[in-house]
Subunit: 420 residues, 3 copies
């Protein structure tokens, strides 16, 4: 991957300048190779990426891998219980050490010449090399790795942005969900033929929900906005909030979104990459399931099913909706221009037993349907914005304020010249 | 799709200058990305493209779509019977409005946020948008659309070339075929791994017919040229022409090709993009079918099967062979460098009933075999001209005069600098 | 394929300068398009390519084809028994004349317009062309073609390097194997997702053998090196060499490798592209088969099974291991960046009858397993070296001296500026 050239940088600057406020992005942002390379450099290899859950790798040696374009990393539980993120590239001749998406390893052994690394990445042995090799300089490269409330984040940057503020914000809100005491019920991987920005733009508004998400809108109020919320609906929302506030305050949970529409995210400014809030569900819904019924044992600290949904988002690549009984994380990773690898993970309490305490057929459809409905829309957007006659259109100020905020965040990141 | 750069323009000019008259095109014309981009700009987004037949969309709301590289358009019958060509790109966030190849729609509704357009492209509603949106400025973009004798043409250019001359030329020749009173018997779509120019170069000579098209040459005289037409054959051709002239004159049909070999096309000059003529078939052939027998009811104004073949060609993307009983249109569209999407459409009289008045097994093989024989040859040419040691070879002056004429037309179009 | 630009040349020079001696190649050598183009120009279209065996095309008109990236050539046995290498590109309009991988042809007839070429490439007829065509100038282009001891080599260059030195070196060593009196037992083609250099780097060391090639190391001593060869093993090797030397000298065969480890190849300098040597097998192994038993009749001049293995290598694209009873040739050809087309060919004596004199199930597994083990490793290296954080690592001076020699040879070839 060549570094950014001056020509690339000019292209980026020209494109950033060409965007009109309040309008969707010009088409080249979805098709220009220089843009994709700059995004890898300035967003994907800079910020904090959600990569998985601590409960996916509970024991020392458990690992999972993830890929950002051509880069692969191993996230492995160390002997002391810590988690290391290691570049999946042997220091000898560059072999990808493992091609598995998850597994367990005593040590990380390169299949080629059996260079052997500890779970901390240190080079333990390299039989066959000359005696003057300095093993201490040939460990697997580390990436920064942090965790909060059961969520694992990795930054591919040598100078990652501040994580503490995120941890401080997210920990109190997420901890009650008990993601650290959870287990994976199901993982589904999607290869979506759409740019990752299109996927986010889709996620950041519920303007499209009424027609496209019949399941989702039964359980949620998000699709109501200032322009189309009747007094009766507003009263229902206020009731739900009031009722929840009292109850949740007693349970140590905070309700943090009281208005119609989606909560603002991202906030402006370079540090606004994370957010979480708790939102009441529609009357009669205990969980984001098709019929609103609880589908698995209560998770975490919950003693009552009436906890609404906890919602977490982190840019550039994660959102999570958690109900009383299950949590659903969506992870995006760029897989070449115009392609996004999306993983949706369903989590339940660690003690819940499939077939006994829960059925996947009850647990999965709500978010599986909603997700797949979205991926199809995203692919149709990708086709359209590549047209030579596509021009940016206006965002709805009622309903797409968060899409606009996402675009502003994106352009701010992209505008940072990181030529090396 | 970036605009042409100065460097691209220099490449184009260098390549045009490198072509020797009477020889096939240098190899880079088939592999250089700058050439492909220039072709899209200066040919495919400039000229008149054949897109389909009026009988494919008989009722208001009937539509078909077509794609030129990454551009998709909708061709839809309006309430007043007119036909509109609309860019298949929502004015909101660019979604491809429909991914169907044909259908019927009351209104054109974007699946994403239900922006709703009339059949004339006007934005009828965009629920959820702020009140100060000017809907009159947010209709679907129109492309120029014209029709003649049942054939629909669209130009992606804001300043398309003159169409009236084409209409005046084609109307009297094509109208008797009754394409407006026809129906589709079958459509077959092909994805051919060959540049569109190779497909035209194949179409513009019958030098390859003797061995490759055993079916075609039984019915036609095209493969006879000045160098290999015996006196006996010339006498047969003259007889056929003479006989036809008399009869067709009486029926109001004109025979317009009397010589051996294929009729000249394109004529030189920038407006020479269309042509039609009527040619006698070989004695005993009433129709371009395997056995020469009429395979469906007479079409259009014909009262007698002996009408030879009507042949229509329009650059850059259509030819049609019509017999007394059926018509076959071939449509080319570029689908990425070195790939051509080809659609072959068989038409019969609108009242003909499959299984009763005609069998596809009688109707299709003649042109299906001939077409598929050609696509295979074209793919083999594509492989060869990408070789580093391919050099242009000489055209046969007896048999490839039309290939040379096509190449000259092509270079003239490509030479127009349309940098913006 | 455009010529090298000045920018490309600068990239190549920068990359060559960036390589540290004794370390693996920087990552761009495996992903930069300019590098791939330069390799085609300066290596694949310059040197001598192994293309097949004389016994594959025994009779006049027998031919095989091979491809180097987009270039295809026909290697055909002429009427006088000589072998011609002809560019598989019709001189008329560039059609690939044959898409078969092998066959037999009276004459080479282009399927498009039946231009007909003799087995020597001369244009014999081009019916339909004007009378003033000079057929003598329109024969198929020749590539240089040479053979030695049953191996056919072709150079795509107009000024190929010296071949005589190779013939003089290889003939005495290879002739006893009787490849000219052999027949193909089996050909297996592989499409490997790894750069051809990765495949060579894999081939040039046995550091990876212990764990990855359980079959191979049972029969061979290659994986023993100065650092890990016990006195007992060294004694075994010396015994085997001593025993072989006496016996082989009597049989007119020379043992030419006496040390532990692999024989040096390539030697430094621009002519060091070929080598052959004979090496004893492990005690008890008569042939490179799973159990060491002879699996087919003795080949060539051999009168005793105890001939060790004859090993041949030629850069950039062949190695061969020959046992007393069979020979296995591996041929590499570049098939786009990061892809290598690999053909493995098993040969036996021309009179051997499958099912009677030999079983493929006995003959093939040794090299089929070893090969496929290697291709998998190579693909895993390709994945790793594309990582943005891959950095070259140190070669083992004990075990990877030949990888380093290969890299030096490669850089020397690549450094030759062949801008035209």
């Amino acid at each position: 991957m060549p570094c950014q050239t001056a020509e690339d940088q000019q292209t980026i600057e020209r494109l950033i300048a060409s965007r009109a406020s309040g309008y969707s992005l010009p088409g080249e942002f979805y098709s220009n190779e220089a843009v994709y390379r700059a995004e890898l450099d300035r967003i994907w290899r800079c910020g904090w990426l959600f990569v998985g859950h601590t409960c996916e790798i509970p024991r020392p040696g458990d690992y999972l891998t993830f890929s950002v374009d051509a880069d692969s990393l191993i996230v492995v539980r160390d002997d002391d219980g810590g988690i290391n993120a290691l570049w999946n590239v042997c220091r000898h001749r560059g072999t990808r050490i493992t091609t598995e998406s998850q597994g367990r390893a005593g040590r990380l052994v390169c299949p080629y010449h059996q260079w052997t690394y500890g779970r901390d990445g240190s080079l333990v042995s390299c039989r066959g090399m000359q005696e003057d090799i300095d093993k201490s300089e040939l460990g697997l490269r580390h990436a920064e790795c942090r965790q909060v409330a059961g969520l694992i984040f990795v930054s591919l940057s040598d100078n990652p942005p501040d994580f503490d503020a995120a941890a401080e914000c997210l920990a109190p809100l997420v901890t009650p969900q008990g993601l650290e005491r959870a287990k994976v019920a199901k993982i589904v991987d999607y290869d979506v033929a759409a740019d990752w920005k299109i996927v986010w733009e889709n996620n950041r508004e519920c303007y499209h929900c009424n027609v496209n998400h019949p399941q989702y809108i039964k359980a949620n109020f998000d699709h109501y906005n200032a322009d189309d919320t009747s007094e009766r609906v507003q009263a229902r929302i206020s009731d739900a909030v009031e009722r929840s506030e009292e109850k949740w305050a007693a349970a140590g949970l905070a309700v943090s979104h009281r208005r119609t529409g989606m909560t603002d995210f991202p906030s402006s400014g370079p540090t606004g990459w994370f957010a979480a809030n708790r939102t009441p569900l529609v009357e009669g819904f205990k969980s984001e399931t098709l019929d609103g019924r609880q589908a698995a044992p209560l998770m975490g600290d919950y003693s009552d099913a009436d906890v609404g949904t906890l919602r977490i988002r982190t840019l550039p690549n994660m959102w999570n909706h958690s109900s009383c009984d299950h949590a659903v994380s969506t992870r995006l990773l760029p897989a070449g221009q115009g392609r996004t690898a999306i993983r949706v993970t369903w989590l339940v309490d660690e003690h819940a037993v499939e077939g006994q305490d829960y059925q996947l057929a009850d647990l999965m459809p709500f978010w599986q349907l909603t997700s797949e409905q979205d991926w199809q829309l995203c692919e149709q957007v990708q086709l359209g914005v590549r047209s030579s006659r596509y021009v940016p259109g206006p965002f709805s100020t009622y309903k797409e304020y968060n899409v606009d905020a996402f675009v502003r965040w994106y352009l701010e990141q992209l505008g940072k010249d990181s030529r090396r």
